[in-house]
Symmetry: C2
């Protein structure tokens, strides 16, 4: 009714009002003026829902993260949002906690036409049956690059990065390098562990120790570190699969009076700001988190514009940043 009201005030048809609203330049300037004045006058606000229904475009993107509390995630999300905004898109955030019920509730927004596409950051293998819900809708995996699915992806070469991490520690003379890994449902966890094992083999190291955590947070890292310290043979280096975990591990080392890196070196993964303020500052492997977000949006929008487009698997650069801890 609202656009009707404007039309009545301006003395034109609602088609014309719609044209002005959508900046179609075929409208005669004089008519255009009349309409704009009318819009001002009644403080008209378009009903976006109606527009979306009519055009079957919502300009809304769904973002599925497992835990927004993880700085890695929030930094990527920031990139996603920034790029989305540049293209006039808004984002719907689903903080899934890897909870299938919640994920499927959000994914139904795809078939419900509420969102035009989805960026998933959760583990692919946490989306069992959920991939059916995504169906043929535009989809980009961010941080996970499983080519078995009908989705584009943005990742780094996780195995290679992990290898570089191990070599860095080895170059520092470390002989017993332990890995604290997170959830093996994540492809990147598998890939990094693979890299870790490969590097050890190449280097001829006999010591190999992997401890898994349940929750990817500081506490998880601390618990894993405690576990490792109960071993008969103490490692002389820790490779943490994320900076957050490294943080937890370091706090335990401090409590135990162990010196970093003298007694045990620590290297992390991600490159979150937190790593700059640990004691000592954290050596880590930097992922281009912001760029992860930006590229994901670009790939997604491209697919939305042209659904025929082939999936594309983009591999970005990582960088080892040496600070004090290793």
């Amino acid at each position: 009714m609202s656009i009707d009201k404007v039309a009545k005030i301006a003395g034109v048809s609602k088609a014309t009002v719609s044209r002005v609203l959508n900046n179609q330049h075929i409208v005669k300037p004089a008519t255009r003026e009349k309409v704009l004045t009318a819009i001002q006058q009644c403080n008209y606000q378009p009903n976006l829902l109606a527009r979306q229904l009519r055009t079957s475009r919502s300009r809304m993107l769904l973002v599925l993260v497992s835990n927004i509390t993880n700085p890695f995630c929030s930094l990527v999300v920031r990139g996603i949002e920034e790029e989305s905004e540049r293209h006039g898109y808004h984002i719907l955030l689903c903080n899934s906690e890897s909870n299938p019920t919640r994920e499927s509730a959000y994914l139904s927004l795809l078939s419900g036409k509420v969102v035009d596409g989805v960026i998933t950051m959760d583990a692919i293998s946490c989306l069992p049956g959920l991939t059916d819900m995504i169906g043929d809708f535009p989809w980009v995996q961010c941080g996970e690059g499983d080519t078995d699915f009908r989705a584009s992806s943005v990742t780094i070469d996780n195995a290679q990065a992990a290898i570089a991490g191990v070599y860095h520690l080895a170059a520092k003379g470390r002989q017993r390098i332990a890995l604290i890994n997170s959830d093996m449902r994540y492809l990147y966890s598998q890939q990094r562990e693979q890299g870790y094992r490969k590097a050890l083999t190449e280097l001829g190291h006999n010591y190999c120790r992997v401890e898994y955590i349940e929750e990817l947070d500081y506490t998880g890292g601390a618990k894993a570190m405690q576990k490792i310290l109960q071993d008969d043979q103490r490692p002389d280096a820790i490779f943490a699969i994320s900076d957050v975990i490294a943080g937890g591990a370091m706090s335990v080392l401090h409590q135990q009076g162990l010196r970093i890196p003298d007694d045990i070196a620590v290297i992390g993964f991600d490159g979150i700001p937190f790593g700059g303020v640990t004691v000592p500052p954290l050596t880590t492997i930097i992922q281009p988190m912001h760029q992860f977000g930006v590229r994901s949006v670009q790939l997604l929008l491209r697919k939305i514009k042209d659904p025929q487009l082939d999936d594309c698997h983009e591999v970005l650069e990582w960088k080892l940043l040496e600070r004090g801890s290793a």
Copy 2:
């Protein structure tokens, strides 16, 4: 058309299909069965947009945060999302970076009927003119409690909490307590500084020193700490307005070889997990972040259900958690 298709297959009217879809129990079981089978058969997915347009309810909530990267924000958002989901609502996240253009783009979703209400976590004073856009739509301020606006709010008693922080430091024998404050556009920053000053007066402390940061992150805290250390007279305690800032400050203290808390005590604010793994662990004032989110949603939904309801300003409990740093 889609509901029409189902209707045709089931041999009923689309009104009946709609009734089944909405679980209205007036439908005869036999008819219901027919419809359900038809739905299965053609794998029908309702168009939510159409439903929302028709019912003028989107079951979508807008959440405006200034920086999702701040752990305080992401922990609150997690609470918001959890409670939203319980009520069948989804959330739209706007990471504003206090950017008015971006905020107004998102706020137009209110008048556009894309969201039913908004929770703002940004500084009230960062929303100049934006409050007009919110108009009479359901609105809850989270973390900021400016009663001058037509909005409900969920906060703690910031002044009182700050006073407790200062008294805690004073009880530890600290005489020169400096405050690292964040952005004074935030009401909570003003209130905490007020509390800080009040406590100093009550205690008869002459030393009073406030350093402001530009960006609420580790770097901001570090910079502020460096600035303070250039003073002729060094403080013997730092009250940081957030744990993140405390983290940055502590890293500088370590670099300078100052002992915490012996040389300088540090107390933070918020209670983010990070505080548990600093060296030493961070004494802090805990805000009920998750509960902030939960209550905000509850107040908002109540208002959405009954727009006549008066605004309500809820003040939750804070708690001082003593750990090693002060």
